[in-house]
């Protein structure tokens, strides 16, 4: 172990010096060869020479691992014997089904609640003078890590059986009004929703910021024109503001969808997937590091990738279309 660790500084040094040197030499070599070619040919080849290194890098650290994962997902727990699609069959059966169900709740609940709340905050903040202060308050949780945020909310959601002193903030408030304490992290479905709310709390700031800047980019003259045309505030929001911030709404929505697909830390810290709150990414972690089942873990990783890919592609295409317009 110590032997390998001793190599780390050497590797860093080689990387820090070697990669720039290699880049320089590679590009120099490429340009040298290009200069020998006829004008037209060298012109059309030049982009590829310059792009070859980044493409190589992407192949090495992105494409290659994906292909390895794909192959591993077709193998057994130790990544050796070929088992066909049985890992995928497992992924869509038994306990995995309830896990998938939880992810679907995340997939719908998290983006929807975040979008509605951030739209409301962004629009309302735009109308008040103390916007900078209000915005700071909403953004603060963004600076907290998911893990630290989860620790905070462990206190908020803390539950003692009825009749005992409630130290959890939410249950303490409930007991003030004589309401029975709610086992926020234990009661099924309620617990998943409670976890989703933590994610909303953590991400609301960044979503509000994105939408708020989009709203500020809308020309005030256009809104004034709509006002003179007889539009009330709600009409202006629906017919003027919303259609003009669609790109930003899409960014928020797709980012949140991808985040809800790969949600892990909140669940890991708060419940570790117990009480029916487990999600795919947490199960992936369990399969990989606790059960040491490479086949299962890889199959889950592939499923996650396949789910997230279209969302990412939609985002990219939308972005391109916007740029063209």
């Amino acid at each position: 172990m110590t032997d390998t660790l001793a190599f780390v500084p050497v590797l860093i040094a080689i990387g820090a010096i070697g990669i720039p040197v290699l880049t320089y030499v590679g590009l120099g070599l490429g340009e040298g060869i290009l200069s020998l070619l006829p004008q037209g040919l060298s012109g059309s080849l030049r982009p590829w020479v310059w792009l070859s290194l980044p493409i190589l890098l992407v192949l090495l650290i992105l494409i290659y691992p994906i292909i390895v994962t794909l192959f591993t997902s077709l193998r057994d727990a130790r990544g050796e014997g070929f088992v066909g699609g049985s890992n995928y069959l497992w992924a869509f059966s038994g306990t995995m089904m309830s896990i998938l169900k939880n992810n679907i709740i995340w997939l719908i609940g998290f983006p929807a609640v975040t979008l509605v709340l951030s739209l409301a905050t962004a629009v309302l903040f735009d109308k008040v003078k103390y916007e900078p202060v209000a915005m700071t308050v909403v953004i603060l949780p963004t600076a907290i890590s998911f893990t630290a945020g989860s620790v905070i909310w462990t206190q908020m959601y803390s539950f003692q059986p009825q009749g005992m002193t409630q130290i959890g903030t939410l249950n303490a408030i409930r007991s003030l009004f004589g309401l029975a304490p709610v086992p926020w992290l234990i009661a099924p479905v309620v617990n998943t929703l409670s976890l989703i709310f933590i994610a909303v709390w953590l991400q609301l700031g960044i979503a509000t910021l994105i939408l708020s800047s989009a709203i500020k980019n809308i020309g005030s003259e256009m809104l004034e024109a709509a006002r003179l045309d007889g539009a009330g505030e709600w009409r202006i929001f629906r017919s003027m503001v919303l259609p003009n911030i669609v790109p930003s709404v899409m960014v928020v929505l797709t980012t949140m969808i991808i985040a809800s697909l790969k949600v892990f830390d909140i669940v890991y810290v708060m419940t570790n997937g117990n009480f029916g709150t487990n999600v795919i990414a947490n199960r992936l972690y369990y399969e990989l590091f606790s059960a040491n089942n490479l086949g299962h873990a890889s199959a889950i990783a592939v499923i996650l990738l396949v789910c997230a890919l279209p969302v990412a592609l939609i985002n990219i295409f939308h972005f391109r279309a916007e740029n063209k317009a």
Binding site: L228, D229, M240
Partner: protein
């Protein structure tokens, strides 16, 4: 259609006073242009009429209704903005239809109105396009179309031509005027361009620093400016001003400039001898003449700018810099001396302290 009465209207932004009590009467169907240099408060005043700015003091009345506390959407006015403010996500037809839809008008009538407005403005072939697919001039037309479909009580224009190129501006100028004559809708038009004001307005309101300097018909402003500011602002190139005083000359009282240039007093002006005055005459009211003619003034040329149809000449009259516009071609060049004769029947005397015109 309605008249608009603005009485003692004031606007403060916190402690800063922007408009200091403005009174303007606008008749039904009249085309009034608010003109003045940047920051004179003309746009603010327009926005107050529109309901986009609060009215700090005074009263705005549209028709029989005081609108101070009526929100913009209920004032029944249409406004054309400097940047057009089209709805980018709506087609030309939808842009024009938006206000009608909000009024709850039936589909048939809406289509009819949009088609009619499109017809008037030549927008027919563009109805299905989006604003980003239009040229500046076409956008301008759509902005106007959006205003006229509504058939409002008052049209407001906020520097609508300033984003167009010079040629298009001249075209749109006459088009807007023709449109207003046809629709006979009361119109308030803001511009900083005095040519626009002169050519379009039934009545011009000249503003400076939040007060109305003069309010009159274009030609009255040109012929009888109330003060030196209006005299200088209306007309291009600007009126020439020479400081001096009234002195008795060979043929009765005459004007003597500080460096001894003598000019006949303007017709009708008869201030007592010794009064300090500023003599004002327009560059186009000065004639070329030969040396020795009575009243001819020698002037040395500092710059000649021929425009083809006329020639603009910058001159030194004594030490005073003046401009002249002549129909004649001028062959003399820089440093040469020519003789000029300002037309006293079209000249003015101003009080140098208050700037007011002496009658």
């Amino acid at each position: 259609m309605s008249n608009v009465v603005i009485s003692d209207v004031r606007k403060n932004y916190g402690p800063t006073k922007v408009i200091h009590g403005v009174d303007i009467d606008i008749d039904d169907g009249e085309f009034v242009v608010l003109v003045g240099p940047s920051g004179c408060g003309k746009s603010t005043l327009l926005r107050m009429i529109a309901g986009l700015e609060d009215i700090t003091g005074g009263e705005v009345r549209i028709g029989s209704r005081i609108v101070n506390d009526v929100v913009a959407k209920d004032r029944d006015i249409a406004m054309v903005f400097q940047n057009y403010a089209l709805y980018p996500h709506m087609t030309v037809a939808e842009n024009m239809d938006f206000s009608l839809k909000l009024k709850g008008m039936g589909k048939g009538e809406r289509e009819e109105r949009v088609a009619k407005a499109a017809d008037i403005l030549g927008l027919g072939p563009l109805l299905a396009r989006y604003p980003r697919q239009l040229s500046g001039g076409q956008r301008q037309r759509v902005a106007m179309g959006r205003a006229i479909v509504r058939d409002p009580q008052v049209f407001l224009f906020d520097e609508p031509l300033s984003n167009l190129d010079a040629k298009l501006r001249v075209e749109m100028r006459s088009e807007i005027k023709a449109l207003q004559h046809r629709l006979k809708t009361t119109t308030i038009y803001v511009t900083h361009d005095q040519i626009e004001a002169m050519t379009m307005a039934d009545k011009i309101v000249v503003m400076r620093d939040g007060v109305v300097e003069q309010c009159d018909t274009p030609l009255n402003l040109y012929d009888r400016p109330a003060n030196m500011f209006v005299a200088a602002f209306i007309g291009s190139p600007s009126m020439n001003f020479i400081e001096g005083h009234v002195q008795s000359g060979a043929n009765g009282p005459a004007f003597i400039s500080k460096d001894g240039v003598e000019m006949a007093l303007p017709a009708g002006a008869n201030p007592p001898v010794g009064t300090a005055v500023t003599y004002g005459f327009r560059p186009e009211h000065m004639a070329l003449t030969a040396a020795g003619v009575a009243g001819a003034l020698p002037a040395s040329i500092t710059l000649v700018e021929p425009t083809g149809s006329e020639t603009m000449v910058f001159l030194k009259l004594g030490t005073a810099a003046v401009a002249g516009v002549f129909r004649e071609r001028i062959t003399a060049g820089e440093g040469d001396v020519i003789h000029v004769l300002p037309d006293p029947t079209r000249a003015h005397l101003f009080d140098p302290d208050t700037g007011k015109r002496l009658t």
